[in-house]
């Protein structure tokens, strides 16, 4: 037995040049975790927070109670999900190239995590509000956000609805239920709680959804959000996207000895689910259920989406320096696109050919909008917004000292 205090430093199971090893990850069988009552309490919800809700088995069949729950979801809806995910993938691919060409300063992909935002957003109503992180452009895709606006933001040009104010990927789209993203991690989580309190106080029938990465659960705002959600019981879904990494930092440094992030929420008295985030059907089922439960006034719910960040953290990152190169290929929960494809094919509603055709079609669509937007300027091909735009919107009415400065700028 231990006799002297020694610190521990959580380490990932494998580092570069080692063999990927996910044997530490326990995975429930598809269909094994049931559906709780809307009114279930945190203290009775251990299995939902520690297990893993999954719908698709390895052959692509939908099984178990959550599959039942969505049996009326149409094949068209599932194909829409496929389209959403592939569209996101096409955008990511195009933007990585564009960033390498210096057309923009920065980009972030969400490869491997597409199912979560795409599937969740399609269950929301107009007027519901997401408080996303930078890795949830999928929410915009699922909300049919115009690609022109999306690319405009990524290129900070005159088509940017934010007129170049923010770093690429830090979108804002109020009409599409997408709150302005902060570069400061965590801050939006408690804001989502505040927004949902306003939903309840004004009785507008809408709900809010907060989003955070596994790494950022360490932030203070994660704590204050769970706390205030527990105290006031507003209609908010507290999403945690556990993609195993925070830049180079292993998820263990954020988890410590907590079993799961969902179980941390339980400690605050918030009922929590843990879900296979690479299983589009599980995402749809749980999101549908969660949205209904929340809208009906059963209070806050936490959802840990279990997934893997297949790409680099951002265009500034090189994951080869801290984890095995092809670790993503060993991820035991597979790839969300491949898995939904298998399911649709097993239903006889999809084929490799249609898949390839859809990919090509989306790449065309994305590329053509991208080119159109690029024509309005990129970092290497500047068609500048007036710099005085930076004095606009600091306040509703421009105070004297800003007027003086705008004049001093000589613009």
């Amino acid at each position: 037995m231990t006799q002297t205090p020694k610190l521990t430093f959580p380490e990932p199971p494998a580092r570069p040049d080692e063999v990927p090893d996910f044997s530490n990850i326990k995975i429930s069988e598809p269909g094994a975790v049931g559906i709780p009552d809307f009114g279930f309490e945190a203290k009775d919800g251990r299995e939902y927070a520690n297990g893993l809700i999954r719908v698709m088995d390895k052959d692509g069949n939908a099984v178990g109670p959550w599959a039942e729950l969505i049996k009326d979801v149409s094949v068209d809806d599932l194909r829409q999900g496929m389209r959403d995910m592939l569209k996101m993938r096409a955008i990511d691919r195009r933007m990585i190239t564009a960033q390498r060409q210096g057309k923009t300063s920065f980009y972030m992909q969400c490869t491997g995590e597409e199912a979560i935002g795409c599937g969740f957003q399609r269950q929301l109503d107009k007027g519901d509000m997401n408080f996303p992180t930078y890795r949830q452009q999928t929410l915009l895709i699922g909300a049919d956000y115009p690609l022109r606006d999306l690319f405009g933001q990524l290129y900070s040009n005159e088509l940017d609805p934010m007129e170049g104010r923010q770093l690429p990927v830090l979108h804002s789209a109020r009409d599409y239920g997408f709150f302005t993203i902060s570069g400061n991690l965590g801050t939006q989580y408690i804001q989502a709680v505040g927004w949902s309190m306003a939903n309840a106080l004004t009785g507008d029938g809408k709900i809010a959804a907060a989003w955070i990465g596994d790494g950022a659960t360490a932030s203070n705002d994660f704590h204050s959000a769970l706390l205030c959600a527990s105290v006031y019981q507003p209609p908010v879904i507290l999403n945690i996207v556990n993609n195993q990494w925070a830049i180079s930092t292993y998820t263990g440094v954020a988890a410590g000895k907590s079993r799961t992030y969902a179980s941390r929420a339980r400690g605050y008295g918030i009922p929590a689910l843990r879900v296979d985030g690479n299983d589009y059907l599980a995402v749809v089922a749980v999101s549908k259920w969660a949205v209904e439960r929340t809208r009906k006034g059963y209070g806050p719910l936490a959802i840990e989406w279990f997934t893997y960040r297949a790409a680099a953290h951002s265009t500034s990152d090189d994951p080869g320096a801290y984890r095995p190169k092809d670790e993503a290929l060993s991820w035991p929960l597979g790839d969300p696109v491949e898995r939904l494809k298998k399911h649709l094919i097993s239903l006889g509603e999809w084929s490799e050919e249609r898949h390839i055709q859809l990919e090509a079609e989306l790449l065309d669509e994305v590329t053509s909008v991208q080119k159109e937007v690029e024509a309005h300027g990129t970092l290497v091909n500047e068609q500048r917004l007036s710099p005085t735009v930076m004095f606009k919107g600091v306040y509703a009415d421009m105070p004297e000292h800003l007027k003086r400065q705008r004049q001093e700028m000589g613009a």
Binding site: L170, A173, L201, C228
Partner: protein, 337 residues
Amino acid sequence: MANMTMIEALRDAMDVKLADDPSVVVFGQDVGYFGGVFRCTSGLQAKYGNERVFDTPINESAIAGMAIGMAAHGMRPCVEVQFADYMFPAYDQITQEAARIRFRSNEQFTCPMVIRMPTGGGIFGGQTHSQSPEALFTHVAGLKTVIPSNPYDAKGMLIAAIEDPDPVIFLEPKRLYNGPFYGDHSGKSLGWGQHPDGEVPEGHYTVPIGKAKVCREGNDVTILSYGTMVYIAEAAVKQANIDAEIIDLRSLLPLDLETIKQSVEKTGRCVVVHEATRTSGFGAELIAEVQEACFWHLKSPLERVTGWDAPYPHAAEWDYFPGPDRVERALVKAMEA
């Protein structure tokens, strides 16, 4: 008109706004049932219910963060931080979020909220019940920072702040809650009943944010001040018998540079007085602006009378707190130069 303390005037402002705008909510530590440790919200929960006025956990960043979310949604939260010294955990939410949401979303989302906080010393509160952090807000683009010095302004400015489309830091000089303070800590202070600015109109009115007030006209030297120090300046002027012009800035950002300029161009001399520590205090900004705007009119160096660059001490409070004697010395120095 009714005679009110500053506490009553602030409460009345919230009462007016809670009554006339259903989107106004008031919350903070102990502000609900109990009505706040300074009793500024006393009776409001009983009157408006706990959906409008409620207690929060002891987490200032949660208070600010919830308020931001509500404000972005369209409500108008007016929240209390129990002492300005306790706003630091909320500094990220206030400066990086509340202040920036309008700008970064290109006005898709806005943040009309008020954060009230008792500020300043003079109550033997020691380090953590006495600080004056105004300069930490005036450096932040997107925030407005105001500080009333009497009940009339307090009510009118709080109503204006709640109606403002942007986040307003509302500093309340706690030493003035119950009456003006002329620096004599051994004697009894007069209450607001003895002061004309204790007369407060009933119902709705505003004192606009961004306008300074000339409290005393004079020709020889300009004193720029705000909060408790306005009265210290008055006391100093009386004891020095100098024809000083005293300006109560009221609003630090936006700053009423026009009023300041007119005065300093007239007097050619200027003394800045604040409680906050000196280095990088708001006095530095005032001096930088005044010397730029009035350089050719200046007859002597601009002076600062401020708290010392030490943490706020408990026992030595009255040596730390700038009193009339220190202000008088600065005035004399400015006049002699």
